[in-house]
């Protein structure tokens, strides 16, 4: 052995990356060892488990598993796109495709699996794909643009994910499964039947008990259809093979390492190959001591830790086998199986609940002594987060109660608090309840995101996040760590609670609310700059329903608004204001453009096109605002609410009308949406966009609610954000008609307004709210809380009562009287608002304002309290 040993890793997949992290944790990187990684794919390790989320908006970069400076910080040599071609164990040399060679002291194989493609004629035709890498998905996406139907061979976990993806791409979708039911490995016949109904309800055609016999292709070599084993035929333009995976053990075979009869590199408990103590194999390419090859990521992670410990000469428990619980990650389908799902243990009993109408099937396998051995959940996998960790113990309530729906059998939901400390809550990262509790008590994590970061729990497939959230909150409470969730020093309630108070008690006055619900010490005070606008906004968004005035500057309301809302314009750094008239959907006539130009010229305003497809005019004094708006309103403009925490714009691309790629009229939809939601006051600003095709020119996935046209209607994405903290919006529902789309947005926005914190954009709200996107989908799509009628009614009230704030202001001399620079000299302009020339326009004269000292501060930086 050389002074610093060389560790070579072949394969930078999920398990490979985990192995590198485990090495780093054990101090085996940097100066301690030279680490060389050969990576076949063109990009570093990414989250293959979440691969399908690419189709709901996650970019390849989002999927990356490698933190920005990880490789560099640990001095790892990562060779992208350079696979290992040969291993010479005698000289301990690996040769890569590029000709690069390296000598190792320890070699780790983490080459994963390859998708198995059954040897049917025509399998190499154009339009045949597998579903394993980001590159596969990019190709599938490209090909799907020009075809109308697709089939998936294989009805297992991955096959169904692939089918969901094809459906999402707007294709007529088929699934062909050789076994008599879908997901044959995970679910039993009863579950398979319930699952089939759910999948068929999504519009996917299911063929079970048949196999693909031949792929037929046209003269151009492209797929035209598939012949099935029962003699029938599917007309289809593309085929995805998802008929299982095989360990990638070719390299190992070629260098004489022992492999299993059905593949897989044989390893011992330490993940050392049976043949050569200097060579390890981990992840999907390894055949573990229990004689199994694991096709899941959690066991792979365990192997990675085991091998790293062995290399660092640390004690390890070794890898002897693992749990194969799984939960399907398919939009709108709940399927989970855990433990001994098929009831293979001797003498075990099944407890089954089935409701074929609603497609719910639940089965628990109970041992003779009452221990929970495993189960299958279809249609309602809510309990998965609790039941899986309970596996192997006797549940605290009877099994019947665990499967019966709420209301039918008493205390169904035993929370995760009933679990023992050793229970594994996060299967992906093998995190126990005890570890999660310790994160709160010992590492003082005070929020779920902090606990996720600290323990990694919940950062894999995400199925445990619900249980995790409950646990963290329980633990915080138990330790008396009451995070004061109050809005500010005046109110002990959150914004969402205050919304409920205002709504149910029909309060329309801030003073009444402060007197009845303020903190004792604040009741007689003057409130503060935090709660006043927040409550002003709540009252404004509920005004039509409460019967209050919708005009934000009426009576006491006027004193609650930030200066922007107070003057219905945006305050700029020198005390002047900017003006943004509404230009719905970014569509504007030449006449109106001319009016904007004339107004800007006549008042000497600086003009700039905004990112939201409108025109901003800067540099108006308070006393000029009414005169400017009089001309704009006269020309048919109305307030653009650029100053408010309200809907800003609905941006659009030009759409089907002009664009040769467009599949829907995106401009019309954008205008409809903008006019519907204009003036809606919300916890923060709301941005939207509508794209006329999947090319997404309007950048809808960067918006709070974004709409993208499909050939069948519209896909709705929510929770997107640009700015400092970019986030791609998540797919909420697909292929909606116009009416369905509008109804869903109505519900979504009202639910957000109701439950978000002050100044919490939809993106942060989605990340924070318990249950996340799934919960929001349950509430607004499946109406799980029975709220939808009310949410729709609230929005209908808003739409019916909308009035243009500027037109109203101009109509009322009393309101206009407010727009003066000086109360004692109404006609005097403000001498401090001056401008100097800049690139043919003008800019604020800041020298005039600068006194002896002007401390530098960022605009975002509010003062810490």
């Amino acid at each position: 052995m050389t002074a610093t040993p060389t560790i070579v890793l072949i394969g930078h997949g999920m398990v490979g990356q985990r192995f590198l992290e485990a090495l780093a944790d054990r101090g085996m990187t940097g100066d301690a060892a030279r680490v060389v990684v050969l990576c076949e794919e063109p990009r570093p390790a990414y989250d293959r488990v979440q691969l399908t989320s690419y189709f709901s908006g996650r970019t390849p970069e989002d999927l990356s598993l490698v933190e920005a400076d990880f490789i560099e910080k640990h001095g790892i040599e990562l060779r992208l796109g350079d696979p290992a071609e040969t291993v010479d164990r005698a000289t301990r040399t690996v040769t890569a495709r590029s000709g690069f060679t390296v000598q190792y002291d320890q070699l780790v194989l983490a080459t994963g699996s390859y998708p198995f493609v059954p040897p049917v004629p025509g399998k190499d035709s154009a339009g045949c794909f597998v579903y394993r890498t980001i590159e596969d998905l990019l190709e599938i996406e490209e090909y799907a643009k020009n075809v109308s139907s697709g089939s998936v061979v294989g009805g297992g976990l991955l096959g169904l994910e692939a089918a969901g993806a094809l459906k999402g791409l707007g294709l007529d979708t088929h699934v062909v499964e050789f076994a008599p039911r879908l997901m044959p490995v995970q679910v039993d016949d009863g579950g398979g039947e319930a699952l089939r109904r759910t999948i068929e309800d999504m519009g996917v055609t299911v063929h079970t008990g048949v196999g693909g016999k031949e792929i037929t292709a046209g003269e151009d070599g492209a797929v035209t259809g598939m012949e099935l084993s029962d003699g029938s035929r599917i007309d289809t333009d593309m085929v995805i093979f998802s008929a299982g995976v095989r360990p990638r053990d070719q390299l190992a075979r070629e260098c004489g390492l022992e492999v299993g009869e059905r593949g897989g590199i044989k390893v011992d408990e330490q993940c050392r190959t049976a043949t050569d103590p200097a060579v390890f194999a981990i992840g999907e390419c390894a055949l573990a001591v229990d004689g199994r090859v694991y096709g899941l990521v959690a066991p792979g992670y365990e192997m990675a830790e085991t091998a790293a410990s062995a290399i660092a000469a640390q004690e390890t428990a070794g890898f002897t086998g693992a749990d194969t619980s799984t939960k399907l990650k398919l939009l709108g389908v709940d399927v989970a199986s855990f433990g001994d799902a098929h009831g293979n243990a001797e003498g075990c009993l099944d407890v089954v609940y089935a409701d074929s109408r609603s497609g719910v099937y639940k089965k628990l396998v109970i041992g003779q002594d009452g221990t929970l051995l495993g189960g299958v959940l279809v249609g309602d996998a809510e309990a998965y987060g609790t039941l899986r960790p309970l596996t192997g113990s006797v549940p605290p309530v009877s099994p019947e109660q665990l499967v019966l729906p709420a209301g039918a059998g008493g205390p169904v939901s035993i929370g995760p608090s009933a679990l023992p400390d050793e229970a594994v809550i996060c299967n992906c990262h093998n995190v126990t309840k005890g570890t999660i509790r310790a994160a709160v008590t010992e590492h003082s994590c005070g929020t779920v995101p902090e606990v996720k970061k600290c323990t990694k729990a919940g950062t894999g497939c995400g199925s445990c996040v619900k249980a995790l959230t409950t646990l963290v909150n329980d633990e915080l409470e138990l330790n008396g760590i009451t995070v004061d969730k109050g809005l500010c020093g005046c109110f002990p309630h959150t914004r969402a609670e205050l919304y409920e108070i205002v709504r149910t008690l029909r309060l329309t006055s801030y003073e009444d609310l402060l007197a009845s619900h303020g903190r004792e010490e604040a009741k007689d005070g003057d409130g503060c700059e935090v709660c006043k606008p927040a409550i002003g906004s709540i009252i404004a968004s509920l005004a039509p329903t409460l019967g209050a005035s919708g005009y934000v500057l009426d009576g006491e309301q006027a004193a609650l608004q930030d200066t922007n809302d107070h003057f219905l314009a945006n305050l700029q750094r020198n005390g002047s204001y900017s003006i943004v008239p509404r230009i719905p959907g970014g569509e504007i006539t030449p006449e109106k453009l001319i009016v904007i130009g004339e107004v800007a010229r006549d008042f000497g305003l600086y003009t700039k096109i905004t990112g939201g497809q409108r025109i901003d005019m800067f540099g108006a004094r308070v006393d000029q605002l009414p005169r400017i708006w009089a001309r704009l309103v006269d020309a048919g403009f109305e307030s653009g609410h650029a100053y408010g925490k309200a809907l800003r714009t609905v941006k659009s691309c030009v759409g089907q009308t002009w664009c040769r790629y467009g599949v829907q009229d995106s401009v019309r939809m954008a205008i409809d949406l903008e006019l519907r939601y204009r003036g809606l006051r919300s916890p923060h600003k709301l941005k939207s966009a509508v794209s006329g095709c999947a090319r997404e020119c309007a950048e809808a996935r960067g918006k709070d609610f974004g709409v993208i046209a499909t050939s069948n209607g519209w896909n709705l994405y929510v929770g997107g954000n640009g700015g400092a903290d970019p986030r791609h919006a998540d797919l909420l529902a697909q292929d909606l008609s116009d009416a369905e789309l509008v109804r869903l947005i109505d519900r979504f926005l009202m639910f957000y307004i109701r439950t978000a914190d002050r100044l919490e954009r939809t993106s942060a709200w989605l990340e924070r709210i318990e249950g996340g996107l799934d919960h929001v989908r349950d509430v607004v799509v499946h109406d799980s809380l029975g709220l939808c009628d009310e949410l729709e009614a609230l929005m209908a009230d808003h739409v019916a009562h909308y009035r243009d704030e500027w037109a109203e202001t101009l109509d009322d001399p009393e309101r206009l009287a407010r727009f003066v620079s000086f109360v004692n000299a109404p006609d005097a302009p403000d001498p401090s608002v001056r401008f100097v020339p800049e690139r043919d326009q003008m800019k604020p004269d800041l020298d005039l304002l600068a006194g002896p000292t002007l401390p530098v501060r960022t605009l975002e930086g509010t003062v810490a309290r």
């Binding site: 003057d526 109360v823 006194g851």
Partner: protein, 125 residues
């Protein structure tokens, strides 16, 4: 420095004291409690005048020392530990309405002006 009032006055004139004497601002009804107005001073300077919930008037300099802009009259008022303040509409620093001290940066303050509510008939002294 401020007149103490039992009840908000609805008549009379709010005045503030400059070095040249009392200056009429406006009637109390011209101010919304919790909201300010700007006043042009005889020397060309600017003051910001506020009314609290109880109807007491306050006056401070209108210039926000952090940005140089004359905007404090457009901030939102509030109270902390029973003391009234205004938060700058630009970067949100708070200023005590009675002393002019910045609550978020002890090294900064703004001028304060004495105020009173003069009965209807009284002319500026």
């Amino acid at each position: 420095m401020t007149e103490t009032l039992e009840r908000p006055l609805t008549t009379g004139t709010i005045e503030l004291r400059t070095d040249r004497g009392w200056l009429a601002v406006c009637a109390p009804s011209g101010l919304v409690p919790g909201r300010g107005v700007a006043v042009l001073l005889p020397d060309g300077g600017q003051a910001a005048v506020f009314l609290d919930r109880a109807g007491r008037p306050y006056a401070i300099g209108n210039r926000d020392p952090f940005t140089g802009a004359y905007v404090l009259s457009r901030g939102l008022t509030g109270s902390a530990d029973g003391r009234p303040y205004v938060a700058s509409p630009l970067l949100k620093q708070r200023f005590d309405l009675e002393t002019g001290a910045c609550l978020d940066d002890a090294s900064v303050s703004v001028p304060v002006y004495e105020t009173r509510v003069a009965p209807e008939a009284a002319a500026a002294a």
